[in-house]
């Protein structure tokens, strides 16, 4: 304490406090930079850990699996039938599966969701179990890429036939065949936990199988695990899946990593996986009306540990190998005596075998969010008024009169409430206007908003008027500015634990808002850049177009890591020069990207309980609008001159 007191005395003696106050904006920027650097440090050797199974009961791959050649014949038989009937009407296809399941000995039921999409499901009430817990195997008719899930359905049929013969199960087995792995499956999962009469106990785990090829073989598996709102399955289950797959000889790919990079385990590859993971967590649950959902989103929020196995390639190991992987996963979960609780629920995977736990990565988002806290403090301490630039800070200026305080708070509250109403109205709009019938309307709405926000961002450049010098105006603006920044900081901090990646990405995207300064209009011109850069709708456009361009981070990484001119030329050739940019169909498709994501945002809460749009329209958008208003106000005097003017 003596040291602290000495420091405090020195600070007072040399008058450092005013200088420190003027330094706050730099501190804020520094914090965001530190947050970024923190993320970049995570994939360095020594910063991450190797995965391990922490629940002893799991014992993955400890039993010899008999799902081999003899079962292969059944899989082939089912597959031939499925190929034959794949184009039949929905009900006939489902009846076919239903009759097969009945023959094997499953109790089968059908569930129809409101949009008449059908889910067929069967329950095997295992003789040894106490009928309270269940493991779920899911094979949707359509995969997340929109293809027919032929191999997946056949393999699932073969597996459940085989499972029924085993006497080891202590948890019920539920097999689900939804039309697709997103809305239909989600509705079934919701119904299972709320209204369905025929159930098999609480779901401990769910495994979704996607294998669209008709081939007998596959090359490697891709494991998908990201749920909505930052929820992930317990790391133990992911570890089991990875360990078993590698035990059976599969390479495991995460987040669409191409085959050539599966052997890489260096800093750039780890960083790439980390960034892709962050991004896919932040954008999880923003699905267009059809296609894109892999099943993990559907189970999210109900405490079901969910994984999706997506088979990649058509040659290599035979299909029963994937069957054995899934069988071993089921056996592992079957061994559990308690719920999954041992391992991590918050983690970032760097490779299938390496991870960073929450304690190590959370500081990154803490730093970026605290950058907003500092900048709001800085705003309250009059740093953002350019009129104060050359005047030393003194604490007499902190005081705000009651009326400007009230006005500032009122302004801020009005904008926030307005933005919340706007966001809610759009959500309501999306629930009554169907996307398929009104695609044009949604396209106009999305691009209208993107263009409108970009246009109004240029207002500080265009506006030309002069106001009377008034201390009231400068104080009102100061309060509104400080409050709005604090509000965003507050929202980001609350979001931290729930949804790390969304909090981090929003704080990075909205970071330019901390550069907003106000003063005489002619000095506000630079603000336009910051406003455009931090607009939520600009980022919507970027993410949407990137998704349609099939942007792959791995390619960028390749270019940087193994830089050579021919490689660059090749990539430019394929991605830019060979693309027919003026082809209307191509452009149309490109422009649809943001529209689909916007629709996903608006309907996210209704369909998957995704909060992303709420976070954006309740926290990010109001602060952006507030900043826009501030930059459009002509503030003629600084906070230290009011005594002179009044």
């Amino acid at each position: 304490m003596a040291l602290l007191e000495t420091i405090q005395r020195k600070i007072t003696k040399y008058g450092l406090l005013p200088k420190l106050v003027r330094f706050l904006p730099k501190v804020s920027t520094l914090l965001t930079l530190l947050g970024l650097i923190w993320i970049l440090i995570l994939p360095l050797d020594g910063q991450f850990r190797t995965t391990y199974i922490s629940e002893n009961a799991l014992m993955p791959s400890q039993a010899y699996s008999f799902f081999r050649e003899s079962e292969w014949n059944f899989v082939r038989g089912y597959r031939d039938q499925i190929i034959e009937h794949i184009d039949d009407p929905m009900d006939e296809r489902h009846e076919m599966l239903s009759s097969w399941m009945k023959t094997i000995g499953y109790k089968t039921f059908e569930y129809r969701s409101a949009n008449d999409s059908r889910t067929t499901y069967g329950i095997y009430h295992v003789p040894k179990g106490d009928d309270t817990e269940a493991m779920v195997i899911v094979a949707p008719w359509t995969t997340s890429d929109g293809e027919k899930n032929i191999g997946g359905l056949a393999l699932t049929m073969g597996l459940i036939r085989y499972f029924h013969r085993l006497s080891i199960w202590s948890k019920n087995i539920i097999v689900v065949f939804p039309e697709d792995g997103q809305d239909t499956l989600r509705k079934w999962v919701d119904a299972y936990h709320t209204t369905l009469d025929e159930t098999g106990g609480s779901m401990e785990s769910a495994i979704v199988i996607e294998y669209s090829s008709e081939s007998d073989e596959l090359d490697y598996v891709e494991v998908k695990y990201v749920g909505v709102n930052g929820q992930l399955p317990n790391l133990d289950l992911v570890n089991c899946a990875v360990m078993i797959s590698e035990h059976e000889g599969f390479k495991v790919s995460l987040h669409n990593t191409p085959k050539g990079q599966l052997w890489a385990n260096d800093y750039p590859s780890r960083l790439t996986t980390l960034l892709k993971g962050l991004f896919s967590m932040a954008t999880a649950g923003l699905l267009p009306e059809t296609g894109g959902g892999n099943g993990c989103e559907a189970f999210s929020g109900w405490n079901v540990q969910t994984l999706t196995f997506k088979a990649r390639g058509t040659e290599g190991r035979d299909i029963t190998t994937l069957g054995r992987v899934i069988e071993a996963c089921f056996r592992a979960v079957n061994n559990l005596l308690e719920k999954f609780h041992q391992s991590f629920f918050f983690y970032l995977l760097l490779t299938p075998n390496h991870f960073v736990s929450i304690g190590n990565y959370l500081p990154a988002a803490v730093l970026t969010a605290s950058s907003f806290v500092i900048s709001s403090l800085s705003a309250f301490l009059t740093n953002n008024n350019v009129n104060n630039k050359h005047i030393n800070f003194n604490d007499a200026a902190i005081k705000v009169d009651t009326l400007p305080l009230m006005n500032g708070l009122l302004l801020f509250t009005t904008v926030t409430v307005g933005s919340i109403i706007f966001g809610t109205l759009l959500m309501w709009f999306s629930s009554i206007v169907s996307f398929a019938d009104n695609n044009n309307l949604y396209t106009k709405l999305t691009w209208g908003l993107i263009l409108a926000t970009t246009t109004v961002s240029t207002l500080p450049v265009v506006l030309r008027y002069k106001s009377q010098p008034s201390a009231a105006i400068s104080q009102t603006v100061r309060v509104a500015n400080g409050c709005s920044l604090f509000y965003l900081a507050f929202a980001l901090v609350s979001l931290l634990v729930l949804h790390f990646s969304l909090s981090l990405l929003i704080s990075l995207a909205a970071f330019p808002l901390t550069f907003i300064r106000y003063g005489p209009l002619r000095q506000n011109r630079k603000n336009s850049i910051w406003l455009i850069l931090s607009s939520p709708f600009l980022w919507l456009a970027i993410v949407g177009v990137a998704r349609k361009m099939e942007f792959q981070l791995d390619i960028v990484r390749n270019l940087i890591q193994y830089f050579s001119v021919p490689l660059l030329r090749h990539e430019l050739q394929t991605k830019i020069f060979d693309t027919d940019w003026l082809n209307p169909a191509f452009l149309q498709n490109l422009l649809q990207g943001p529209v689909e994501i916007f629709y996903g945002l608006l309907t996210g809460y209704r369909r998957f309980q995704t909060w992303t749009w709420m976070v954006i329209s309740f926290a990010w958008l109001p602060v952006w609008i507030m900043s826009l208003i501030i930059t459009c106000i002509d503030v003629q005097i600084g906070d230290f001159e009011k005594r002179k003017v009044n």
């Binding site: 929820q231 929020g301 629920f345 507050f490 634990v497």
Partner: protein, 400 residues
Amino acid sequence: MTMVESEYIILTTGFFIRLAVPALYPQITSILDKSVLFSTPISSFRSLQEGIFLLTSDIDPYNGEVVHFPPLLLVLFSQLTHLNAVFAAFDTLIGFLLVQINKNTKYSTKFSSGVVATFYAFNPLAILSTLSKSTTVINNLTLILFFHFTLQNKFRASIVTLAISTYLTYYNWYFAVPLMFSIYQSTRSQQAVVRSLILYIASISALLYSSYILTNNSLRFLYLNYASIVLFKKIVPNIGLWWYFFTEIFDFFSSFYLSVFNIYSFIFVVPLATRFRNDLLFASWILVGFVNFAKAYPTVTDLNLFYSMLIIFKVYYKKLKFSPFLSYLGVILILTLLPVFYYVWMSLNSGNANFFYAIGLVLSILQTIIVSDFLWSKIQTEYFESKNINIDTIVKLTQI
């Protein structure tokens, strides 16, 4: 429009807000009542309704372990209808009394009645507390009424109010100590104190006896109302400090910790009253703040009383290390994080009890900081006044 009128208009507006929100959005009560911030088994609206139901269906509410309300309160609520209006009226009355107390204090600097009324009428904590309909609102009302009477030296009324308050909530007998001190301060006679004490005990006894008769000559309500608080019978997560200890420790320690926690909640009552006998309103307020984190089942409604009364003590703001604006901001931040962590623990299953308790601890630490900050500011202000030094003079006092 004069200032006197404006405070009533503001309070009436507050009343209508408290009336309109549950009318437009009736689910709000059950949402708040299910949240960990506003409801404990001791005070929640849910168990009140359960008790009323049992009472009206001629089942003895005190037979089970569900109802922890005193019998008279239960009977009162079984007769009341339009609960939205009743709670809104109670809370507005609290606001009114706050304005009155603020008027009657002898502090040299204070906020105008309009500001105090605005502060209470639009205070999110107060509004949410009212909407949650927890019986703690009534506890707050009796306490603030007691402060009001004591401040005006209407001691008989204040003794009876305190007796009712004690009858409702176990901890409120602590306030008998500052009350006796202020009776002694104004009358300077020990007889008066003894007489007041007798009146206090007699009123409580009357209330308890009528409850005894009301519950068919059974003393079980005593166990349910008071013993279950003192013995911490329902170990349920709340924003306080107790529950975590009693889930973690071995059973044979629990009687030891029970006594320690109970003694701890009482330990500062006499010293505070002695030290600040010339300003017992302040002592009682600090006591409210202290009991809030030392009690077994605190809710945000309890915090509301402390943070609302903060506005009365403007005279001590000058010497604070942290301005009330900052501490209020901190409290609201923590109160937003608490349900988030509760959700991570209970609904997502991805966090655990430690997450939630850690934030609860931060809330308690914040509260201790605020309480000790005000204490130190008060002592400094007193020093300046006793030495006739201008309060703005820069003199560095050191705590020993």
